[in-house]
Symmetry: D3
Subunit: 147 residues, 6 copies
Amino acid sequence: MDNERFTRGSEKLKEVDGHGGEQVIASLKGTAPDLGKYIIEFAFGDIYCREGLSLQEREIITITSLLTSGGCEPQLEVHINGALNVGIPPEKVIETFIQCIPYTGFPRVLNAVSVAKRVFAEKKGLHAKTHRTRTIRSAGSRSKDAK
Amino acid sequence: MDNERFTRGSEKLKEVDGHGGEQVIASLKGTAPDLGKYIIEFAFGDIYCREGLSLQEREIITITSLLTSGGCEPQLEVHINGALNVGIPPEKVIETFIQCIPYTGFPRVLNAVSVAKRVFAEKKGLHAKTHRTRTIRSAGSRSKDAK
Amino acid sequence: MDNERFTRGSEKLKEVDGHGGEQVIASLKGTAPDLGKYIIEFAFGDIYCREGLSLQEREIITITSLLTSGGCEPQLEVHINGALNVGIPPEKVIETFIQCIPYTGFPRVLNAVSVAKRVFAEKKGLHAKTHRTRTIRSAGSRSKDAK
Amino acid sequence: MDNERFTRGSEKLKEVDGHGGEQVIASLKGTAPDLGKYIIEFAFGDIYCREGLSLQEREIITITSLLTSGGCEPQLEVHINGALNVGIPPEKVIETFIQCIPYTGFPRVLNAVSVAKRVFAEKKGLHAKTHRTRTIRSAGSRSKDAK
Amino acid sequence: MDNERFTRGSEKLKEVDGHGGEQVIASLKGTAPDLGKYIIEFAFGDIYCREGLSLQEREIITITSLLTSGGCEPQLEVHINGALNVGIPPEKVIETFIQCIPYTGFPRVLNAVSVAKRVFAEKKGLHAKTHRTRTIRSAGSRSKDAK
Amino acid sequence: MDNERFTRGSEKLKEVDGHGGEQVIASLKGTAPDLGKYIIEFAFGDIYCREGLSLQEREIITITSLLTSGGCEPQLEVHINGALNVGIPPEKVIETFIQCIPYTGFPRVLNAVSVAKRVFAEKKGLHAKTHRTRTIRSAGSRSKDAK
C-alpha cells in the first residue's frame, strides 16, 4: 500500500534532512500538500531507500546535481545540512563543489560555496549555543546528562 | 613549473579517461590546442589530483554534473568510460543516474542511461572481441601473456 | 505601423499582467527603455495577440516555461498574477506546476510553488483589505458605488 | 498496492504516448528497468492520472517544459506524438512553441519545431501508407471496415 | 509599416548569416512560417539593426550566448558562419569560446569548438573547391575575373 | 612556477574587477581558499591574460555568458562593474544585454538589466559621494592630492 512508501519516506527524510526537510513539507501544507506527499513517497520512499549507494554517496550526488542546475539555493541549503547529517565532513562538501568547477564553471560553484558557508556558520552557532546552554544549565543544576 | 601540472594532468587523464580522453585532446590539436592544454593542466593536473575525494567519488560527481547540465552527451560518454576505468561497476553508474531523477526529472536521466547503454555494449563487445582474439592468438602461438 | 503593435501590446499587457506588467515597463524607463518597448511590441503585441490559443492557455505555457528555465522568480511572480487575472483558479496554477515534476524535478517546482504561495497570500490580503476599506468607507459615507 | 499504480500508469502511458512510450520502457529493460518502472508508476500512474487538468492541457505543459529544458529532443519526439494522440491538432503544437519565444528565445523553439516537422511528416507518411494499404486490401478483400 | 522591418531584417539576415540563415527560414515555410517571420522582423529587423554595437560585436555576443545555453549546435553552426561572414577571423571565434571556460566549464566549450571545427573545414573545402573550379574554368576560358 | 600565474592573475583581477573581485576572494578565505586560488590562477592568470581579445571584448563575453547561464546575479554584479572598470560605457553594457534577447528570451535579460541598474546607481552614488567628500576635504585642508 502507498502508506508504506509514505512511512518509509518520512523516516528517510527525517534521517537525511532532519528539521529542514520537515519544514519544507510543512510549508507546502496550505498551497500544495500533494507536492510534499510526492517528495516523501517518491524522492525519499522510492529513490533514497534503494540499495546500491550509501546515504553519503546519495547526498554527494544530490548536492552536485543541485549545484549544477543553478537557482536551487534553498534546496542546496537543505541538502548541505543533509550531507552533514549523514556524516559527510564540511571539507568533503567543499571538495565536492571544487570537483564541479571544470564541468560547470566558477559561478555555480561560488553560489554553492556561499550557501555552504552560511550553513556551516549556522551549525557552528547552533553548536556553540547548545554547548553554552548546556554549560549554563549544568552549572546551575549540576545536570548529569550534559555532554 | 607549468610542465609539472601538464605531466601530472596527462597521467591522471590517462588513468581516468584512457583512450577516450586522449582522443579528445588529439582532436583539438588543429583547432584549439590550448583548450586541450587547459583540460590537462587545470581539470586533471589541478582538480583531479587533489586529495579529499577518491577517484571513484570524483567520477560519480563528474557524471552527475554532466547529466544535470544536459547536452553533454559526448562528455558523458568519455566519463562513463572513465567511471568504469576507475573501478565503478556499471550498476553503480546507473544507480547514480537514478538518484538524480528527483532533482533533474526523467528526460536528462533517460539521455544519460541511453549513453551508458551504448558504452556498456561497446565495452562488452570489445571485451568479447579481445577475449576471442586472445583465444585465437594463444591457441596458435601459445602466447604466455594472454590473460 | 509600429505604433499599432505598441498600442495593441500595451492593451494586452494590461489585460494579462495588470499593474505588475506596467511596473516592469516603468522600472526600465531610466536604464533600458527599448527593452520595455520590445516586451510590449513583440511579446504582447505580436505573440500574445495571435490566434490559436486562449489567453488562459498562453499563461499556462508561460508559467511552465518560466518554472522550467529556473532563476526567473520575478517573472513568475508577474505571470502567476497574470494567470489569476485571466481567470485561471489558484488550484490550476499549482496543478500546472505539479505536472512539471517528472520533467524538471522537484527543486524548480518547489521554487515556483513558493512564489505562488506569496502571490496568493498577497491577493487574499489585498482582497481582504479592499473589502474592509470598502465596508468602512460605505459605512461612513453610505457610498452607493461600493461593491 | 504498488501494482495498482503500475497498472494505472501503464494504461495512461499507452493512452498518451502510444507505441513511442512503450518503446522507451522496453529499451530500458536491459540497462535500467527500474527507471522504466518509475516513469510508469510516478510520471504516469501518479502525476498524469491526477484531476484538475485535461490530458490535452498536460501534454501542452509537457512539451513546453521539454522545449524549455533544451537537449530533450528524444522526449519531445515522444510527447509531440503524445500531443497528437490526445487530440491536439498540429497547428496548436506549433502555436504552443511560438508562445515560448519571448521566454526561451528562438533557438530552443527552432529545435522543437524541427522535431515537430519530423513527427508530422512521419504521421502523414504513416497515414498515407495505412490508407494505401487499406485501399489495396479492401480492393482485394472488399473489407467492410476500411475507413 | 511592418514590411519595413521585414525588408530591413531580410537584408541583415543575408548580410550576417548568408545562405545558412536563408535555409533556416526556408525550412520553416511548411510547418511554422510565422517563426521565420519573427526571426527576420524581430531578431534581425529590430535587434541586429540597432546602433551601439558593431556587427562583429553582435556576432561575438550571439555565439557566446548560444555556447552557454547548450543544446544549440544547429544555431551555433549558422552563427559561426555568420561570425566569419562579418569578418571575424577563425582564431577569434575560438578565443571567444576559450574566454567562456571559467563561466561555463569545459563541456559546453568542447561542443562549440567541435561545431567550429566542422564549419572551418567546410569553408576551407568550399574555398578549395571554388578555387579549383575557377582555375579549371579560367584555364579553359581564360576568364579574367578568376581570382 | 605557479606563483607567476598567481601574481599575474591577481594583477589582472584587480585591473578588471577591482574591489569587487578582491572581496570575492577574501570571502572564500575561511571556507574554500583553493577556489579563490583557482579563480586567480586559472580564470585570471591563464584565460584573461591571453592575447587575441581586448579586455573590453573579454568582459562583453563574460557578462553575456553570465546573463545566459541564469542564476548568476552575484557574478553579474562583479562583472558589470568589471565592464565599467575596463572602459565599457553603461549604454554598451545594456546594448550587449539587448542583443541577447533573441537567444535567451526576455526574463534573463530583465534580470541582468535589473542588476545593471543597481550597479550603475551605486557607481553614480559613489561618484557623487567621492566628489562631495573630495570637495569638502579639499575645501577644509587644501589637500594637494585631491583629484
